[in-house]
Amino acid sequence: MNGSSVIVKVVSLAIILPALTFGLYIIAHGHLTPGGGFQGGAIIASALAIFLVAFAKQASKTLRKNLLSALECLALLGFIGLSFLGLGKSFFFNFLANSGLIFGQAVPFGPNPGFINTAGVIPLMNFFVGLEVSCALTIIVLTMLKAGGDKK
């Protein structure tokens, strides 16, 4: 696999960065708008899939299965670790909400445009889920690429 023609490469470069940004946006706004970790992670994974198809040579060096699966495990551990941290009160207790720390701003009453610095552990969990999903889906794409056979 040597990657695709120049046209495909240029067009995919134009897509990949916006797609990655959009994925991050969906993850970061998971607690405010529809979407969240899984959906954003899937968008990031689709950007990575385009990268894999267009730049097969470079991608095989950067997107390694080992690295991705280690990241995936770390993300899952982060998720379950956050819920364990709530054990002072109960499992999954949102200990960061309204605490003033990261994502700890209290939500003012009434209609508002949406404050990203709220909701406590929920956005953090969204980030971990996003990382998990993007790594896992990329691993699936990598496996399927391999199963397709590199006969050349």
Partner: protein, 515 residues
């Protein structure tokens, strides 16, 4: 440490398997020995938690745990009219099932030590995931949560069935299991959607109180019962069982038996607790009884001609599921009627049989796994004269076979006797069918015994040796419990089976604990 374990044991029952499922592959990347240690610590902690939970429930009553709440033991703050968070509700029946799952998990893990040689970190990671699904399914008090855990359980099971993915049959079996599980899951999800759309509730206790039994509720009930019966491997929907059970690694087959029984638990929870006040519940009871009788008979008749040792045992697993369905179905039929005392006895028989079946069936599958491990063959025609080469496995096989056929002094005799006696009071035909099925089971296992263990020693099998000690230890543990429960059945029935049966019958207590 111990106080945290005690206070949060209900949540940790699911959280710890998840944590170790994710920790195992990560540590395996760093160091193989470290990962073995992590697996061992994980299993020990999970077993300890399961023991604490069941001990608490049997000594102090139903245990509640509200995820993410200020006070995890208060189901519903006074400011709310309905419970909104995810609630784990563990009553005596759940605790009973949790005990079984924990015991089989330990045995399967010990057995796997030497049995599984390659990709151990993947194996144990999915193993823990399966435990998380199983414990979650057994302890949740939330209908949507039930669906989620059934999905976790099914996906992890499918992964483990396909563990030997270089064998075509394993992949085929896993694929079949995956398709059928997702069909069942979709039916369950659809039923939950019907209920949620009408009542806006997902908590089982709150929903049970609110149900008005409209036509669509009955549709939801039918969907739930048929989907869960399918997952439990009852007869008209049993075709995934022989493939999945016979192709999974033996230790996983033992866990799959418990996984099917966890789905059986969900079936009973739905029909007794969620729809307990349904005026036409007799219809559901009859459906369960007929499914039970069919499973018993069809399972055993299909087992008779089998040549593949694990496939034969898988058909017997279907047939034994029939006894549990019959026993508990009779309990549901007799609930609140003049026959209630007999119904209770039948239920005790059925529930006791769940535990006994988990033990002797796992034991039998482990002996079959040992035979395949030692000889590399699974066809009864190619096996002969193993009794001299594998004396311990032979003894364990005899104990397991006696238990499944219901011979004294094994635990299978105790629970089957309870079912025969009480089923006779409803209709003598029930007992007669149950006894005939037991005789046929005995016939089938005598055939296996003669074919595999007796007979002349074959030249191809000349260098067969007894299996490693850890595998023998796992089988010994199960054989010990099979005999122990067979010798002291009344003690076991009094301490854990009776509370479990009463908890299942007492719908008001389940609702009252939350609302």
């Amino acid at each position: 440490m111990i106080t945290i374990l005690q206070q949060h044991s209900a949540a940790l029952l699911v959280a710890l398997p998840l944590l170790f499922a994710f920790l195992t592959p990560l540590t395996a990347k760093l160091n193989a020995k470290l990962s073995k240690l992590v697996i061992f610590i994980g299993l020990a902690l999970i077993t300890l938690t399961a023991a604490i939970v069941s001990f608490d429930v049997f000594s102090t009553g139903t245990k509640l745990y509200v995820m993410g709440a200020e006070l995890p033991s208060v189901a519903k703050p006074a400011s709310l009219t309905i419970p909104v968070r995810i609630i784990f509700e563990i009553d005596a029946f759940s605790a009973f099932m949790i005990l079984i799952a924990a015991l089989i998990a330990v045995v399967a893990c010990v057995y796997s030590l030497r049995f599984i040689k390659e990709s151990t970190s993947k194996y144990y990671s999915v193993f823990f995931l399966m435990l998380a699904g199983m414990f979650g399914l057994l302890s949740t008090g939330d209908l949507f949560n039930l669906f989620v855990f059934i999905e976790v359980l099914s996906l992890a099971s499918a992964g483990l069935i396909a563990f030997r993915h270089n064998e075509v049959e394993s992949v085929e079996a896993a694929y079949k299991y995956l398709i059928i599980s997702s069909l069942a899951s979709l039916m369950i999800l659809f039923a939950i959607g019907i209920l949620y759309g009408q009542y806006g509730l997902l908590n089982i206790a709150a929903l049970a109180k609110a149900l008005r039994f409209s036509f669509v509720d009955v549709v939801a009930l039918a969907l739930l019962v048929s989907a869960l019966a399918m997952k439990a491997g009852s007869v008209p929907m049993h075709f995934w069982v022989p493939d999945a059970y016979s192709r999974a690694p033996a230790a996983i087959t033992a866990l799959l038996v418990v996984a099917s029984q966890a789905c059986l638990y969900a079936l009973f929870r739905i029909s007794f607790t969620l729809f307990g006040a349904f005026p036409l519940i007799q219809l559901i009871a009859w459906a369960i009884i007929i499914l039970g009788l069919l499973s018993m008979f069809v399972g055993v008749t299909m087992a008779l001609p089998q040549k593949d040792i694990k496939r034969l045992m898988a058909y017997h697993a279907i047939s034994q599921t029939g006894y549990m369905l019959l026993g508990v179905g009779l309990g549901l039929l007799a609930n609140n009627s003049a026959m209630a005392p007999f119904g209770l006895k039948a239920m005790e028989g059925g529930i006791f049989h769940i535990m006994n079946h988990a033990m002797y069936k796992s034991l039998l599958f482990l002996t079959a796994g040992a035979i395949i491990y030692a000889t590399g063959k699974r066809n009864l025609d190619e096996l002969s004269g193993l009794a001299k080469k594998m004396p311990f496995t032979t003894i364990f096989f005899i104990i397991g076979a006696a238990a499944i056929a219901g011979l004294p002094p094994t635990n299978g005799f105790a629970s089957k006797l309870l079912i025969y006696e009480s089923a006779y009071m409803f209709n003598p035909l029930f007992s007669i069918i149950a006894m005939i099925v037991s005789v046929l089971t005995l016939v089938s296992f005598v055939k296996v015994f003669c074919a595999a263990f007796l007979g002349p020693e074959l030249k191809e099998l000349a260098d067969v040796k007894e299996v490693p000690k850890s595998m023998l230890l796992a089988m010994l543990l199960l054989a010990f419990f099979v005999l122990l429960f067979g010798l002291f059945p009344s003690f076991v029935v009094k301490t854990i089976v009776e509370p479990a049966a009463n908890a299942l019958l007492n719908q008001a207590a389940y609702i009252g604990a939350v609302l």
